[in-house]
């Protein structure tokens, strides 16, 4: 049976497939990137990280976006709750990456509404993998999107996290992962500090320290900007859902960290 008033042909439960079949003008057509009008210059997001802690998983990112050597935005958002129990953090070309996060969020919600129950965490991670793979033509032109995906697995009662490569390759990590231009430094910082099952306060401290270390070594990473009052996004995903850390507590942790480092330099 067809309902003329809606003009819909697609009958499955995937939103991106619905766009592709019934609304190609809205969708993910990337034919233009094969013959770009010239080199594509676009804002890029820089450093994001994720690691497991006692109650689940924490995902953090700085707020700076750069275009070449210029600052494109000082307060861009790189950490997105894709539903109550999953988070996507973006690194790479900001435009396509933010669109991907938005599309993933709608995709998960759409599936849940059509099917009556949400996807498993692994299913969500796999869906993102397909979206990253679809972005490959744009990635070949320099618009690379390499997200992190993390969430709380309600069946296994544990936080889980995945990293992706540009081809859509999906790799589950057991402890921590950081990516983006400052990802190397954030990852090194986490590697030194990481212990399994730390509590929330310690997890917050580790996140702030890793982002501060990344901002120290990588000019494109924003870190904590106390002057402008721009704070990184730090999300905690647990069995109770996703909570974002308050700016105030991030500031306090940051000030303590800087004070400790000053003391260390002064005692030399």
């Amino acid at each position: 049976m067809k309902f003329a008033g809606f003009g819909s042909r697609y009958e499955g439960s995937s939103f991106s497939e619905l766009l592709r079949v019934d609304h190609p003008q809205l969708g993910l057509d990337q034919s233009w990137v094969r013959n770009p009008p010239g080199p594509i210059s676009a804002p890029h997001g820089t450093t994001v990280l994720a690691f497991k802690y006692a109650d689940g998983v924490v995902v953090a990112g700085d707020r700076l976006a750069t275009e070449g050597h210029r600052v494109a935005s000082r307060d861009i958002q790189k950490v997105y709750a894709t539903d109550d129990y999953s988070i996507m953090a973006i690194a790479g070309a900001a435009g396509p990456a933010i669109e991907m996060a938005r599309l993933l969020r709608i995709e998960l919600e759409h599936y849940e509404k059509i099917e009556g129950e949400p996807l498993e965490l692994e299913g969500k991670a796999n869906k993102l993998s397909q979206m990253v793979r679809q972005n490959l033509p744009a990635a070949m032109q320099g618009l690379v999107v390499v997200p992190l995906f993390a969430g709380y697995d309600l069946r296994r009662h544990a936080g889980r996290l995945w990293k992706y490569d540009v081809t859509g390759g999906r790799y589950e990590e057991t402890e921590f992962e950081a990516t983006g231009s400052g990802g190397l430094f954030a990852g090194e910082s986490l590697k030194k500090a990481y212990r399994p099952n730390v509590l929330r306060d310690e997890a917050l401290r580790m996140s702030v320290e890793a982002l501060t270390d990344a901002a120290d070594q990588d000019r494109a990473t924003g870190g904590v900007d106390v002057e402008r009052r721009i704070f990184p996004s730090i999300d905690f995903c647990t069995a109770e859902g996703t909570r974002r850390a308050e700016d105030g507590e991030i500031e306090e942790v940051y000030r303590q960290l800087m004070a400790a480092r000053r003391d260390r330099s002064n005692s030399r």
Partner: protein, 233 residues
């Protein structure tokens, strides 16, 4: 040569309408009520197949009649809403446009197809006080032939709709707390099968559009919560 026999269009429509009404009357009723914290949707439904569903942030759906038909309409509504919200903004998805689209589609089926849809539907939208022009709740009822009506306060669909409507007209007042609204709804559904034992709370499907929630306001209440709310006084 056989003479093709003539049936007047009036007769055809009447027969179709009667067929649809009979089909709808076989099932149980569903209802919606505005309460002080949003909109309540209730159905007597012992099965695990839902009659009430989430469409979008502030919009919910309830159907009665043939499950396969209204569930297909529900899914089409979700697709319509998600595409519209993706193409424009989330605030551009409104119940009125959706109910109109349903009305068009169902009217079309009624006129063109041999078999009419044996369904009746409710589309409810909870208001958002912080959004100018979106403050009010909206409730629409769409019938098998595409006829559409809007309602304030409460609305009933299904076989015994007139009967239940009379009870609600007498007893409904605006601004009911959730527990009272649910008890009123339960009594109204009770009336639908008079003489039968009281509606078991475990057989009630209860969903809310809660003003206080941010983002997606739809909330399906688990049966222990339904029991708790119905028993509290």
């Amino acid at each position: 040569m056989s003479i093709p026999f003539y049936v007047s269009p009036e007769q055809v429509m009447q027969d179709k309408a009667e067929y649809a009404r009979k089909g709808i009357a076989r099932g149980k009723s569903s209802l919606t009520l505005e309460y002080d914290g949003g909109i309540l949707l209730m159905a007597e439904n012992p099965s695990s197949l839902s009659k009430i569903g989430e469409i979008y942030d502030r919009i919910a759906f309830a159907g009665v009649g043939k499950f396969s038909e209204f569930d297909q309409l529900r899914k089409i509504g979700v697709r319509y809403a998600d595409v519209k919200g993706y193409a424009y903004s989330r605030d551009d998805v409104r119940a009125k446009a959706l109910a109109n689209a349903y009305s068009q589609a169902m009217g079309d089926v009624f006129v063109r197809e041999l078999k009419p849809l044996e369904v009746e539907m409710l589309v409810a939208e909870v208001g958002d006080e912080n959004l100018a022009g979106h403050e009010k709740n909206a409730i629409y009822r769409v019938q098998f032939d595409g006829s559409i009506s809007d309602h304030e306060g409460y609305c009933v669909i299904g076989g015994a709709a007139e009967d239940l409507d009379a009870l609600l007209r007498a007893e409904y007042r605006p601004g009911l707390p959730l527990g009272d609204a649910m008890r009123l709804g339960q009594r109204a559904l009770q009336r639908a099968n008079e003489g039968a034992p009281p509606v078991d709370p475990d057989n009630l499907e209860v969903c809310l559009l809660e003003k206080a929630r941010t983002g997606r306001k739809f909330n399906r209440l688990p049966s222990d919560r339904v029991r708790e709310l119905l028993s509290a006084t």
